[in-house]
Symmetry: C3
Subunit: 121 residues, 3 copies
């Protein structure tokens, strides 16, 4: 058994999430790709929840998120989905930058979390 747990993704050349040493790393985009920043952000955050669960964490344990967005002028829509999702008792550090994403992606989330569940503090 390795000390690194890898959650398989859709291709064999990358993992969906990796857990090691009390940390969980995952990257998510929207599963559906409508031309709507709010809906893609909401969907990508839903993917984050699932991937964290698969790797042994949850949103109360997220440490930091980098949001890559296809148009930073649409940040209000991104923030709306974020504000609905975030655990306000345990908010992560957050960065946000506009980049060019692949295909129909409007958002890509790079997440580092602590392993475990149900933080109190």
């Amino acid at each position: 058994m390795s000390d690194i747990k890898r959650v398989p993704g859709s291709v064999v050349t990358r993992s969906q999430a990796v857990a090691y040493g009390g940390l969980v790393f995952t990257v998510a985009t929207a599963v559906e790709k409508p031309a709507d920043f709010y809906l893609q952000m909401k969907d990508a955050l839903r993917a984050v929840d699932k991937q964290l669960a698969a790797a042994g964490s949850d949103k109360s344990r997220v440490l930091t998120v980098t949001i890559y967005v296809a148009d930073v002028a649409r940040k209000a829509e991104i923030n709306r989905a974020w504000d609905e999702w975030v655990d306000r008792s345990h908010p992560p550090v957050r960065a946000c930058a506009e980049v060019v994403l692949e295909g129909a992606d409007l958002v890509e989330l790079v997440v580092t979390a602590a392993a475990g569940h149900l933080a109190h503090g």
Copy 2:
């Protein structure tokens, strides 16, 4: 008490810094936003210092920094502020990429540090 320490930011939906498992994560932009890459970088690094202090670390313990900059052609000005700031006995790994930032931001810094102070080595 949680094993995760969160330093509150200006809004309840994100933290300014987070400490967990010997690591500290923080993101900083300039507090003042003059149209000057050197001054914004200097100011953002000052914010990093404050935020690391609030989370129990300092610049001698910084592991890695990703610099998002609004114009990579202005990297000399970024480097000038960096070179004045960095602890040359304990320099971090560094990445630098031009992205589109929000509003008047010219620089955004994503920092991972080790907890603790006064590294010797």
Copy 3:
């Protein structure tokens, strides 16, 4: 002796790799800069291998990689080099974003790995 190991880079103001608390952080670009995405990606991954070795890790222990690329439309060439390089028994989490890089750089890799070698799992 510090608990942080820093591998010196080409300038004193940054490190090539840093190891701390079971984690290794490194950033790499291609050493040679031909105008060819595949060749630069291949070369940058070779640099990752060297830098991980210097810091006490290897590609079987890579946790997550962020690929900054100068043209996301050239992702097939990036993927070709990735697929040749990656350890399919231990694939990392991966993010990819188009940004503007400095000078002739077509790719920049930001890598987090676990310390140690020869993972089995």
